[in-house]
Amino acid sequence: MAETIALFSDEPVDGEALRRIEALLFACERPLTLVDLQARLGEDEALEQQLRQLQTVYANRGINLVEVADGWAFRTAPDLAGLMAETREMERKLSQAAMETLAIIAYHQPVTRAEIEEIRGVAVAKGTLDILLETGWVRIRGRRRMPGRPVTFGTTRVFLEHFSLSAIADLPGLDDLKGAGLLEGTPPSGFSVPLPRDDDALDEDEDPVDDDDGHGGSDDGEARPAES
């Protein structure tokens, strides 16, 4: 790809003049107009042509010579802008609401938004589910076969990796939670901590997320089923 280093055509080239223009434009902290350049280089009728030549030299390069509103300047080639982009990692903590929702999804999956709300006893903000989907820890598994066909949520492999679980069944059960002091008091009868599973097989009352519903499997808040 040697052609990224453009060459001049047959037109006469004053290499020394190009060097000087190049250096001036490089070192100056603002774009230079023809007048600016002439003030520093001396009057030269060929200046504009030389600028065009220089522009050709840099046409396919990592930096381009561009004419901006207030003069001429070097700029990074637009297609390389991504290279300049600096990615900074920012660590963020999940909110308590998001942690609780995540925990409910982990234990009770596949679970619908309404079911999460029933367990939490408060509504789940749409943003909370969006954040959980963004973490990559939560995924939409399918749709519950019931009126409104609400989507069901489950956890992902990334979730297991992040929390260093070899399998979702490794989440501690009721006795472990009590033993760790995370649950206190006597649970009422019928209180249980489910043994979670996160495999891809759909439950009997789960349908795959259809392509034809046009919602791309988002949790769009669509079809929030009647609360129990």
Partner: protein, 285 residues
């Protein structure tokens, strides 16, 4: 020689001798003077040519003294040392090591060469293309856009703790329901009025308690029913009868209780199985 530096501090005042002051101010210490002398006298420092240099220095100091210039101590120390060195170089004392003087001379020459080399180095350094003087960096550095990627942090403990706190609410909720035995006297009275009002005979209070809505604490229902019946009896709308202490209580509408045709409540027979009856429970309540 590291103690005083007259030339980096305030310029010394020698108003009497302007010319010499100007002359001397260029020097930074005795080594500097020696180096300058070597240069002006074209004394080659690579060879041991300390003798002529020492003579030059001593002459320099003598001239300063003639001009009554107060010289810093280290200039004088150097002069004394050079005078001694000169005498040893000219006439080595066979009793002490003559080689010593030559070594000291070489030492001094080394110091001078070293200082000179650093002066040259400084000059070379500053004659390089200095950034912002001889060469220039990009005038308009381009800052890339900063993309922030969020990495979410949560530990397994956070997760379990959150789950625990959610499910804990369930446990607390259930326990609260158990602690809610509120069946008020007003409620009991409504039930009593309905049942007694439609009944034309003496009724055991225990039966009335049993008729209270289910799901409430029996003990609470008993207390409320008893309280309501006492209230109604006080108002005269019902009559209460108990054949003996701890015997079951019977309740009847006042008008019917007064009717001689109304059958008397059954006589008390203490329960053989010791099951608590209404009266007994009342005393405990």
């Amino acid at each position: 020689m590291t103690t005083v530096d007259p030339f980096e501090d305030e310029p010394r005042q020698n108003p009497d001798d302007q010319a010499f002051r100007v002359d001397v101010e260029g020097y930074e210490g005795p080594l500097d003077v020696l180096l300058q002398l070597a240069r002006t006298e074209k004394i080659d420092l690579t060879r041991v040519a300390i003798l002529p240099l020492a003579e030059q220095y001593l002459a320099f100091i003598a001239r300063a003294k003639d001009l009554k210039i107060e010289l810093a101590a280290d200039f004088l120390v150097m002069a004394a040392w050079l005078a001694w060195l000169k005498s040893r170089l000219i006439a080595p004392d066979p009793s002490d090591e003559g080689a010593d003087a030559e070594m000291l001379a070489e030492d001094l020459a080394f110091r001078l060469r070293r200082l000179e080399s650093m002066r040259e180095a400084a000059q070379q350094l500053f004659s390089r293309p200095l950034l912002g003087q001889g060469v220039f960096a990009r005038g308009m550095p381009e800052r890339g856009t900063v993309e922030t990627t969020v990495s979410w942090r949560a530990s397994l403990y956070d997760l379990l703790n959150a789950y625990g706190s959610v499910r804990q609410q369930e446990i607390v909720r259930t326990m609260k329901m158990e602690k809610r035995p509120v069946f008020s006297i007003v409620d009991a009275r409504q039930v009593l009025e309905r049942i007694i009002g439609s009944s034309a005979q003496w009724l055991p209070l225990a039966a009335l308690v049993a008729a209270m809505p289910p799901g409430e604490s029996r003990r609470g229902a008993l207390a409320s029913t008893f309280g309501a019946s006492l209230e109604m009896a006080r108002e005269g709308s019902i009559r209460l009868r108990q054949s003996e202490p701890f015997a079951p209580l019977f309740v009847c509408r006042a008008d019917i209780a007064l009717d001689p045709n109304t059958p008397e409540p059954p006589p008390h027979t203490p329960p053989a199985n010791g099951a608590p009856d209404a009266g007994e429970t009342l005393h405990h309540g």
